[in-house]
Symmetry: none
Subunit: 413 residues, 2 copies
Amino acid sequence: MKAILVIADGMADRPIKELDLKTPLEVARRPVLNQLAKDGVSGILDPIAPGIPPGTDTSTLALLGYDSLKVYSGRGALEAVGSGVEVLPGDIAFRCNFATVDKNLVVLDRRAGRIANKDAAKLAQSLQKVKLKKSLNVEFFFKTTVQHRGALVIRGHSLSTAISDSDPEVAGKPVLEVKPLSSLSEAKRTAKIVNDLMQEFHRVLKEHPVNRERAEHKLPVANMVLCRGAGTIPKIAPLSEVFGIRAACVAAVPLIRGVCKVAGMKLINVNGATGTIQTDYMAKGRAALEALKTNDFVLLHVKATDVASHDGNFMLKIEVVQKIDEMLGFILDRVGLNSTYLAVTADHTTSCVTGNHEGDPVPVVISGPYVRRDGVVEFGERSCARGGLNRIRGVDLMHTLMDLLGKTGKFGA
Amino acid sequence: MKAILVIADGMADRPIKELDLKTPLEVARRPVLNQLAKDGVSGILDPIAPGIPPGTDTSTLALLGYDSLKVYSGRGALEAVGSGVEVLPGDIAFRCNFATVDKNLVVLDRRAGRIANKDAAKLAQSLQKVKLKKSLNVEFFFKTTVQHRGALVIRGHSLSTAISDSDPEVAGKPVLEVKPLSSLSEAKRTAKIVNDLMQEFHRVLKEHPVNRERAEHKLPVANMVLCRGAGTIPKIAPLSEVFGIRAACVAAVPLIRGVCKVAGMKLINVNGATGTIQTDYMAKGRAALEALKTNDFVLLHVKATDVASHDGNFMLKIEVVQKIDEMLGFILDRVGLNSTYLAVTADHTTSCVTGNHEGDPVPVVISGPYVRRDGVVEFGERSCARGGLNRIRGVDLMHTLMDLLGKTGKFGA
């Protein structure tokens, strides 16, 4: 027995006036999702707890069976790991942006004109040569990922994640001084290291040939690095240890890849999987099927539903759901439900009206040979609420799936 | 967006033979509650946990989003605060009754004939003059509230709530000695202080002119103070801090007012709101609407359903539900559901058969602009169990409401 878990990021929604008080999911043509509901057991799921808006990272941790409230330790390290940056236990990692600032350090463009990868890479090479004081006894690793995005990892003794961000989050505001958020000396020390490093980075960047060239071409210069989301990798046992399974992940978004990597899953790279609306859905489906040959469990993550929701574009969200439905049809045609469990859910509700992650529950369905079919015939936020799973927590789903696969240990005798 | 939460105390019930195995709520004419069910999302709710009979205090704390199991610290302090008695962190507060005892300290009447407020006030004035030994280094404050009811607050160092009650809870039994319930010196010290004080109170009361006059008029003398429910105020952050909201409370019952006060809510006084069957329902409705103008969240509490239940009077309970339904209609007509969420629930099941709080879940409905309507068309203990909220905990309701108001913070990124 094997299982595929498809997570459609932010797919769940609230009723929308323009859709006659239906949700995008309820309006979408979704024959495969509905078939899964007919053949499966449905329910609603609180990724963290009722009314608590989950992040993509905390929810994905929960959907893999980990107690986010206990193990979550910040976004920075997860995203760094997902971008291919090595983060060891004890390292502090940050998400970084190349940005454009004026001479008073007021941010003009948080993305430095979405700087091209090759420019960013050259700048990063120079930044990695910056020398920190020997007496601080720390190393750092700065890596760019896509466009303006990057990761900073600080390695050494006595570090803390209890520090504030330097990223003001909006243009027009000055770069923030990183401050300790705790009175412990580790927090003060880490804040000082990051502030020193940001100053040094600025010094190197403002004179850099790449930026001189950008200025000549009237492109925004990348003369500052902004950092945020200080985090460590969560202390969790890999899925191979928790459930004795081989697990793989098909996802394009670095944050999801980071969570899966930390959970010991194999990361599959898929040509055309972009983490955007224009992702190659079928390529992801094919990759998941391929990965299932050598793994017991495959997580397939699609970001596009969330992107459409944050833009408030419910018509686009409907289209994306329909593409996901086609992808599920492709998968279902090939694996059947005789020896494979196929589960579908969302990592959170994203409201097309507010544009935010919301704390409403999400629908979930598990289809496969031994589930208790429940009479639900449609996959949707409301129809699934009448399903046989009733209302479960995010952390319950993986245990339920693994139980169907015979991978959970008995508690007691 | 704003929200009103209506709590009908003990409104939920079990099926009653005389009502053809329906509950009073199910039998009541309740067009507005049913309309809310049609327009809203329903469910059942365990105030604390399945099978655990909640107190009104622990349940109200939970319904405001606090984890009662962690923060509850006794009834006494909450009721004292709700009666307008100042209770500071560290103070130990008790609920008190004026009672009638014979010369062997056997309780003849736990309420001293429901002594009139003016008599009680005169007695309290004299009791406040009692001098405790200087060496104990404590102060006390004794205040009467309504009839025989009062509060005692003890302020000083090294006090503990781990002491037993002096109130035997039934007439015919002797006044109990207050005993330490822990081996810690604080508990022993507090028990001694209370015992000393009760003795001194008895000494003052038995010779008091008010009591001599009562005896002449053949009224039960108030010659003893009984105390119970030693408590401190719970250490909780106010709602303004937890959710960033302005909140108000329309309630007559001191215990509810105390919980709301501790949660940082504004207490609204309503002429004609009595906490009894004969309360002015419409005055409460009007007060809630008025409070909503300057607050984000208003809790409206009605005690009468519980009073009827404790008396086992299910016909009266049906009538009270119908009055609450009219009050809800009055509110709904004026706020509509375009920018206000209206939630209705009970703080516990009170069985008209047993006369007790029971651990059965209670029905809940949330009506308002962006809820997922679920096809439930009746508000009742059983119909709501088929609703889109499924089964939630008391502590989840406030988070769900605040999430709809956009007042919950994202956990993760």
